[in-house]
Structures are given as structure tokens and as C-alpha cells.
Amino acid sequence: MDNLLWIFVSALLVNNFVLTYFLGLCPFLGVSNSLETSARLGLATTFVMLVTAVCAWLLNTYILVHAPYLRLISFIVVIASTVQFIEMLIKKLSPALFRAMGIFLPLITTNCAILGLAIFATNRGYGFWEGIVYALGAGIGFTLALVLLAGLREESELSDVPALIKGTAMNLIIAGILSMAFMGFAGLFSST
């Protein structure tokens, strides 16, 4: 229905998960205080998003048509077990990658952006490829927002930010500014 380019750009920039849906803020406010951490967390999240999109499509096509009421529970179970499985897999295959990504994987389970992706893709009735592209856009958009915010935040911590604002209030205001700047992307590729 919608073309793939638009789905991608829309999830990446126009309707960025962090900056317009407020999803996945917990990692931004709580976890990522450095650029490198944010980039890694973002990549790990993107990866899990891709896997989740495939799982959600499978669930939607084969199981949830018969039992729509199990949607939420089955999504949560699938996400939690996927993360667990990926964790084991990475640990076995590439200990280096595990060290780099490992500690973030459990955190991703509670990241609302993942569950949000599964639910949004379902509500929009995306098919297999649409779901994959949507997940890719959302994941990269999440990473982009997180990395930009982390860069700004690192820099702001070095300047004389007034004590009252320092901390969460400052981070939220930076996010607000970035969200304002992203408004410029509205309508991108919607008419092609």
C-alpha cells in the first residue's frame, strides 16, 4: 500500500520513534551518557527490531488471526525470548561482540520501542517486507536520535549549565530542541 521508501524515511526521520513517539526514552535518560554506549545500544536495538518484525509478522499471519486477544502477551513473550536467544547465540559465536553488546541486550527487553514497533507494524497492517523496512527505519532512526542526543549531552555536561537545569531537565530540553529540528523533515518523500 505505502511505498517502501516512504515507510523507511517516515520511520527514520518524519516519525522518529524517540523524537515523535517518545519511545525508548528510558535508555536515553537513564543509560546512555556516552556516545559510544549510545551507538552500541542503538545497533543492538536495531538488530532486535529486525528480528522482532519478522516474529511479529509470523505471529500475525499464523496465530493471531485466530486469537487476536493474545496479541500483547505473545509479543512480550516473543521479544523476551528472542533477546535471550540472541544473547546466547552471540555469546557462543562471538565473545568479542558479546562483550560489546552483551550488557545492553537484557535492557532491550524492557525497551518500549521494540514492543512499540511490533504493535505499530501490526496496526498499520504491514506485510513482510514492509515490516522489515519499517523496523530498519525505526532502528536506524532510534540510533541516530540516541547518538545525536548523546553527543549534545556530552558537550553540555562540559559547559556551565546552571545547576537547576542540569540532569534530566536539560536532557529533555535538548530532546525537545532536536525534536523541533526534526520537524523540518515533515512531508519528506510523501508525494513521490
Binding site: L23, C26, A169
Partner: protein
């Protein structure tokens, strides 16, 4: 003594340990729907129901749940309550449900709820756990309401849909857009910080005065 304790558990959630203002918890899926007071309150009520319900169950059955699978059990309980809230809202107030849309199922991912189960409900007797949940949920509802009210008043010139400033008011559209959510919460936190600093200063002054007298 017991009475005081449970009142204490209730009150701390509303102001001192307010989940949003003091602990900055559980707002990620919620900010998106605070663009009007009615949406914010609906979301707050749904969260209220889920938090109080699951705290009650978790605390009642806390001796039966083995430690190793406690998180999974909590999530199953929470998800059940969320599904119930979702279908109830869809049946009773379809208009509000349409506005909140995909954000109701996301209550599951609210770290506040899981956090209360792990930190409180699974350790304390039912009565205290319910008081704690009631307090936290009310504090959360209050926070969502104040956000929603500020955003609707400035962004639409209205509160709960009632026009406040007459037809000629120029609405501040940004307030109902995503950046307005971030900025409003940022500014509210700023005031909360400011208030706390003032209060601490005041207490210190009082303490200093007492010391010098004593």
C-alpha cells in the same frame, strides 16, 4: 502506628517520590498522549488500574511465586491487566481509545509498574503494597494530568475541551506537537528542582537557627 505507615506509603508517591517528577520513571510511552488533559487522564486511569491491580495480586501471592521466575510472572500479570484495560476502554469509550491508540498496550513496558512489583509489592504485605501502589499511581496520574493540562491550555486554549480564553486566542501549536511534550516536561522538572532546592535551603536555615540557639 500501622495506620501511619500505610498513610506514609500512600503520600510518598504523590509528592516526595513522585514517579515522574522525582524519579523520572515510566514516562516514555506516556508522553505521547499527554497532548490534551482528557487523553492524559484516560491514560493515567488505565495505568492506575494496572498498577494497583498487579500490586495487589503480586503481593497476595508473593509467597507462592518462586524467585527464579518472578519477573516472568510479574509480566504475565501486568500484561493481563493491560489487555483487560485495553478491551474495556475500547468497549466503553471508543473515541478516547482511538486517540490513545497503540499506546495503551505499551503500558506493559512502563518501567514504573514492573519496578514497583520488584521493589515493593513482592516484599511487603498486601495492605502496604496496595497503599504504595495507590500512592504511586495517584502521583503518576497527577503528573500526567499536569502535563496534559499545560499542553492543552497553551496549545488549544482549552481545558477538557472547554474554551478558556475566547475565540481569538492564538493557540501555541507546538505544545500539542512532540517538541512541546519534551519542553513542558523539562520545564516542569525545572520547577520541581527549584522548589526542592528552596525547601532544602529553608530546612537548613531552620536547622542552623536551632543549632545556634541550642
Amino acid at each position: 502506628m500501622k495506620e501511619n505507615l500505610s498513610r506514609e506509603e500512600f503520600l510518598k508517591g504523590i509528592w516526595r517520590d513522585n514517579p515522574v517528577f522525582a524519579q523520572v520513571l515510566g514516562m516514555c510511552p506516556m508522553l505521547a498522549v499527554t497532548n490534551s488533559a482528557i487523553n492524559a487522564v484516560a491514560m493515567g486511569m488505565a495505568t492506575f488500574f494496572v498498577l494497583v491491580g498487579s500490586s495487589f495480586l503480586v503481593s497476595t501471592f508473593r509467597h507462592l511465586i518462586p524467585k527464579q521466575v518472578r519477573i516472568s510472572c510479574f509480566i504475565i500479570i501486568i500484561a493481563t491487566f493491560v489487555t483487560i484495560a485495553d478491551y474495556t476502554l475500547l468497549a466503553l469509550v471508543p473515541k478516547v481509545h482511538k486517540e490513545l491508540g497503540a499506546f495503551i498496550p505499551l503500558i506493559v513496558a512502563n518501567c514504573l509498574i514492573l519496578g514497583r512489583q520488584e521493589a515493593f509489592a513482592s516484599r511487603y504485605p498486601t495492605k502496604l503494597a496496595v497503599m504504595d501502589a495507590l500512592g504511586m499511581a495517584s502521583g503518576f496520574l497527577l503528573a500526567l494530568f499536569s502535563l496534559g493540562a499545560v499542553r492543552e491550555i497553551l496549545g488549544d486554549g482549552a481545558l477538557f475541551g472547554f474554551n478558556l480564553f475566547g475565540a481569538n486566542f492564538e493557540p501555541w501549536v507546538i505544545m500539542i506537537l512532540p517538541p512541546g511534550g519534551f519542553l513542558t516536561l523539562g520545564v516542569i522538572l525545572l520547577f520541581f528542582n527549584w522548589f526542592k532546592t528552596k525547601k532544602d535551603e529553608f530546612l537548613e536555615d531552620v536547622a542552623a537557627a536551632q543549632r545556634s540557639e541550642g
